[in-house]
Amino acid sequence: MPSLAEARLAVTIIQIVAYVLLLSKLFRSRLYEKYRYFSFLIFADAARLAFMASLKPRTDFYAYSYIATGPIIWILLVLVVLEFFHLILRNHIGIASIGKKAVTVALIVSAAISAGTLLLDLQRTSAEAAVLFNFMLLERLVTTSLLLLLLCLVIFASHFPVPVSRNIRTHASIFAVFFAGRTAILFLRMWFGLDVVAVLNFALQSLGAACLIAWIVLLDPAGEQLPAPQVANASERRLLEQLEAINESLLRSARK
């Protein structure tokens, strides 16, 4: 049975290959034009992984590099989630303003709930590795916020209900699993302490690799098509006319 270090090396290689394959797929299919921040994220994460893999572990330089590059990835993750929401709403002018409000509310709610969960972690401070502990804490906070933000935005979109392409649906599903898995693992990492960091880091890497493979397999240009048009027959055409009349009625009512 391979050791943990060997297994991590294997997963790191799989991840680097997967990053290259995903980036090439995004560029070949021109999906990068639509998923710009996502492409930036994949590129930055790949570069970070390759850079970190080239450094000698358990050195100060390794730790500082890891801590310094982490926030870049977090910012890109936030931008990817906002880009995802923009892609959902871009064809729906009618809910543009309320969509912007929804983003603001979702950001506040997710940050507040995530900050609330810190109360659990702060009871388990570690004096001997304060910097690492605080960084791990911040990482968990950001990941939890992103998971909640994504869920809030998906709930908003489903409320109206906004039709989404297969790619957007796939994107949301993979990101949700990615954030959920990371949140759970990072929470357990905080909970069980530094003794299990190596094992749980391996779990994090495996999750990342699995998500990359899912993106490679499931994202494709054909998935950009919206679900079949809803105006398929006379009855449904009549419905849309009716909805337009309702729209006018609602507008009149709101102006009163």
């Binding site: 303003s97 209900p161 419905l239 709101a254």
Partner: protein, 177 residues
């Protein structure tokens, strides 16, 4: 295998799967079949008029005053009427959601930004939810033998929604008032 690893292996896939199911369900392709135009055109709140009388005290007081009617009979009648009332309430809530969905779909496909309409819809939804909660609370009190259940706010909220959706025929409108 250590305890943390076992916990991780058990917890992480379950949590991930639960979130995946939730997101897949929320992003599933929607249908407009619920907003059937025939239904929208024929909808009237008069269907729910009997609710206003179902749990009023006057019928039960009259019944209780009749010779041979026991307290047990009155109690059974109250229970039966509550059951019927709940069935009406379920339908009323369902109809409100259908009307609300029609309005949301309209907003979704609007050709200009309509924050005012979005706010109106949110306010109406909140008012309706509050009215349903109030009725549910009064139903609990009714089960304990305390007071009648007033549904005027609830039917009023449904009526407001119907007026906003603007699909009622003038004749039906006259009948409902």
């Amino acid at each position: 295998m250590t305890f943390p690893v076992i916990v991780t292996l058990a917890l992480v896939p379950c949590f991930g799967a639960a979130i995946l199911l939730l997101v897949r369900r929320l992003t599933a392709p929607s249908t407009v079949s619920e907003c059937d135009p025939e239904w929208l055109a024929n909808f009237s709140t008069t269907t729910y008029r009997p609710m206003q009388r179902l749990l009023s005290d006057s019928d039960l007081k009259y019944l209780a005053a009749q010779p041979g009617i026991t307290a047990k009979t009155v109690s059974e009648l109250r229970r039966e009427r509550r059951r019927i009332f709940r069935a009406y309430l379920r339908n009323l809530v369902r109809d409100f959601h259908r009307l609300h969905l029609a309005a949301r779909m309209t907003l979704l496909y609007a050709t200009e930004d309509r924050p005012d309409l979005a706010q109106t819809l949110m306010r109406q939804r909140a008012m309706f939810t509050w009215a349903v909660l109030t009725v549910e609370f009064r139903l609990m009190l009714h089960a304990a033998g305390l007071g009648p259940v007033d549904v005027s706010d609830l039917i009023g909220a449904l009526e407001n929604m119907r007026i906003n959706v603007g699909v009622m025929a003038p004749s039906a409108q006259a009948a409902s008032y």
